[in-house]
Assembly symmetry: D2
Homo-oligomer: 307 residues x 4
């Protein structure tokens, strides 16, 4: 197996990838962007890509939502949840009081803003392309005394030459990021009973009820949504598609029926995968939404039609 | 073919039956009640029964709605619309000004009430078991001077010994009654493109949204309803089933899909037939509700499931 | 107080009227039809009319539903529930085995049909204008041996010269009829916490969602419906109004808000009264549908508008 | 008037601010982040802040959506639309073929990705805190030959010492960004007939219908939505609020009624302003959603209640 992931090494994305059984012994190629990671999969240079899709603080990762919803089809085959914690690191010789500049990714900075305002109020934020890149830059020529970086603990572990000035500096202690493993379309992962299905649904028309009709396809079959995000199609302001995670597997009759309904009212609907939930929570399914109810209703109609 | 109909001879129901091709040369047995007519079909003593189901003034014929929705299954295979006009008849020697009592069926009396109030204000209403029975009773012993009857023109035509004192006395000139031809379950009548489907749907639960969920099964597939009536199940006040006529044929994908949805949320749903509309009006079906859209959505889901 | 009721004396309607406090000492005028009773109220000849509106076996009383929904406005101010039981009576000298003809109202005959089929299978049904009228006719000249009548126990009690051949002959032991007391519009009866509100709502347009929009006005405010019936407007087949009983009082904010919504989408909506429930059952109202939630939301909007 | 805006000078945000009448002669303070800009308004250091809220390619500006929806209340009083075009600049002496590094903001890089892949495929992206900052850095010590920046034309205009190597390099020619002018709560801007209302609505509960109930508050009053975005509350994955732009003004009865409904089902709903639309498009309002219909329905209910 060849994996790629949103790099560089030492990011939370690599941590997510390492939770996949067998990944430690597989080839793991860092990619410099979500698009690059997914394109590697599309071109067959990698079998699967691990990329972030959602953060409990920052929300959806728009680069991922957009990239999986356009271009050649891909499939989500797995999800991983990684708790997000941050550390402030610097080279030996720089104390917390001496920090003048903080290199990190914008999302990380956003999640440590309150801590920084209280503890290093005069420090200047310098954007880096990733948390790991910001930290590794401290070790390069050109780094100045007073430079520090916010990164994940994994980077500090791998680089003992960096001092941890402060740990657990994220403003939301329960912050978690959700990652998805994406491959080319192939057979569906097996139904486990605690599954999730992801779709991208273009809003068919701009009228007051269009989004309701989409949502009703789920609600009328008792299918809960665990995530819904609007994304611009890029064509014009107000033209959207919706990226939706629903409870259940395409092999659940209620989900398959909802998918058929979605495709009917919005034929550009894209199926992005059914896969087991990282939290293993099984949904409650009432009797009218159970497979048996769907099977019975179809058999009843077939009887009427004389099929 | 052996037909039965809600008799006696001379009623609008017989007029409806005579509109069925071939019925004039077939055996036609009058029944004394809707239940008797339907039971003759159930027992195989008749091939089909013509009974009234709906009147544009009086509403649903509850005896029919209830009788076809319970007991051994029956199927509506045809509908007929008959304009309802009334005449006032009496034996020779009784003028309009002399009318003291009016024999007729309660529904007919209700539909001529305004005319009667203006033209024979002092006349007393005497209920009869049918309009024809009321008229024929005038010819029997015991009939008194001043007795009259309200009936359909067909009865007057067949009984020239009755004088027509006034014609077209119905309060609603456009009044029409709809009749259905009912047989034992067999193959569905062919889809004509201008069809109607009738179902009886028990309200699954008494919560604010239960009826909406039923209606949504139709609305979400663009299926118009041409009639909806609540009927008590007889168990307790507030426990209903709904008798519904929907546009379209069970062989229309949108109708079949709606039927499946109904059965799922209310498993006691009873299919009462798909048959061509008497008015031959074809519904407007948008592209998302066309057979092609349903076929395409199912093919798409099958592709996802690898079926 | 002057009351009128659907007569004659001895019917279940009079029994319902006698349950109204003070009615035993008031003037009670029988009317020969629902329309006559209501017109007496409209003309000021009576202060209130008691008429049947719904039967647990036969369904809505269409004459009442139609009469209160058209013409000069009236208001329902009270409801009564009366258990319906039937007896078979005859003049002394006629035994059960000798019964040849049964005089009664069509609704009563419908509710005793199974008993009659088992116990007096050869007896002929003769329609009467009311159950009481059928029984009283037995005492008149022209009554023949073998004549019997189905009526309420109250008639037998008042006419000891009639023999009760069989009691409790109704096919549904729990049958109950609901009656309403109707007056000219005046102040609303007080809110008791266990109330009912009745409206007549013309279906604004014949499209798949019109009825849903009406129902949603109730459902979206947590207002349960205890009765819904479609009635033809009489103009043409398929043109309806809906007669609806909803839980709650017009002074409940959720009901007042629903009424405003109904009037907006169907300006012909007619308010027919708020009155206490005969069964005194109080509805469960969630916090988002309580008066406090409506008051708070209006205050919030007023604050925004700077009113 | 003192304005602040998401700086530095030369960004599209300043271009948006300069479209506000009178702003050219007012004090204009750049802020280094959306939060800083809004906090200046909250503290009274500025009267209003111009910040981006939505981009036709990149979607919602999450920093803005989150910052206006939490903390002390603010109000949107105006919107501006600015077409987004990009230029590639460098110091004299660097030609297009020689570009090795491109400094710019991540959003700008994302919008020029296809152009860059075709025209400067080997160039490395270096994140900058804004497009203007990336361009100005070229003029500082430490800039190397081969360095370039992607920025808006306004920056190139103000810095003639930078060469424009390529213009109109955005991948979406019609790209536009929407900016909002935010102030402390005060009286509402007047209703113009072509208005927009923005709200933040916490999802009250995680059940299949919760979002539908929110949307229905708009749809049932004929209020179109022009933008809807889910944002995490930050508490846990799957806990959202919805940021919504609806057509119309809080002084439109249909909008006020929808706001009341929203507040009732989600009391944490925050009103973020009603303001005239930059595109001046007036919505189509059917008769049942016009102010007159709301006024009439309330008057009708008041009449019933005897108020």
């Amino acid at each position: 197996m060849i994996y790629t992931f949103l790099g560089p090494e030492g990011t939370f994305t690599e941590a997510a990838l390492l939770k996949v059984p067998g990944s430690r012994d597989a080839v793991r190629i860092p990619s410099s962007s979500v698009n690059e990671a997914l394109d590697r999969v599309r071109r067959g240079e990698a079998d699967a890509a691990m990329v972030p899709i959602e953060n409990s603080v920052e929300g959806g990762v728009t680069a991922t939502l957009d990239a999986i919803s356009t271009g050649p089809e891909l499939r989500i085959v797995r999800e991983e949840l990684v708790p997000i914690t941050f550390v402030l690191v610097a080279r030996p010789g720089t104390s917390l009081a001496e920090v003048k500049r903080v290199f990190t990714h914008g999302h990380a900075w956003a999640q440590c803003r309150a801590w920084a305002a209280s503890n290093i109020p005069t420090a200047e934020y310098v954007p880096a392309s990733s948390t790991a890149a910001g930290a590794i830059a401290l070790l390069e020529d050109g780094s100045l005394p007073g430079d520090a970086a916010i990164c994940g603990p994994i980077v500090a572990d791998e680089h003992p030459e960096l001092n941890v000035l402060a740990a657990d500096i994220g403003d939301n202690p329960g912050a978690v990021t959700r990652f998805i493993l994406v491959s080319r379309p192939a057979g569906l992962p097996p139904r486990t009973g605690a599954d999730k299905t992801t779709v991208a649904v273009p809003l068919p028309e701009d009228h007051p009820g269009a989004l309701m009709e989409i949502l009703w396809q789920f609600a009328s079959r008792g299918v809960n949504l665990s995530r819904i995000e609007s994304r611009p199609t890029g064509e014009y302001l107000g033209h959207y598609f919706f990226s939706i995670d629903a409870e259940g597997h395409a092999r659940d009759a209620r989900v398959a029926d909802a998918l058929a309904g979605l495709h009917r009212i919005s034929p550009g609907t894209r199926f992005l995968g059914s896969y087991s939930r990282a939290d293993a929570v099984e949904p409650t399914v009432g009797p009218i939404n159970a497979d048996e109810a769907f099977d019975a209703s179809r058999a009843w109609v077939s009887g009427i039609l004389g099929d």
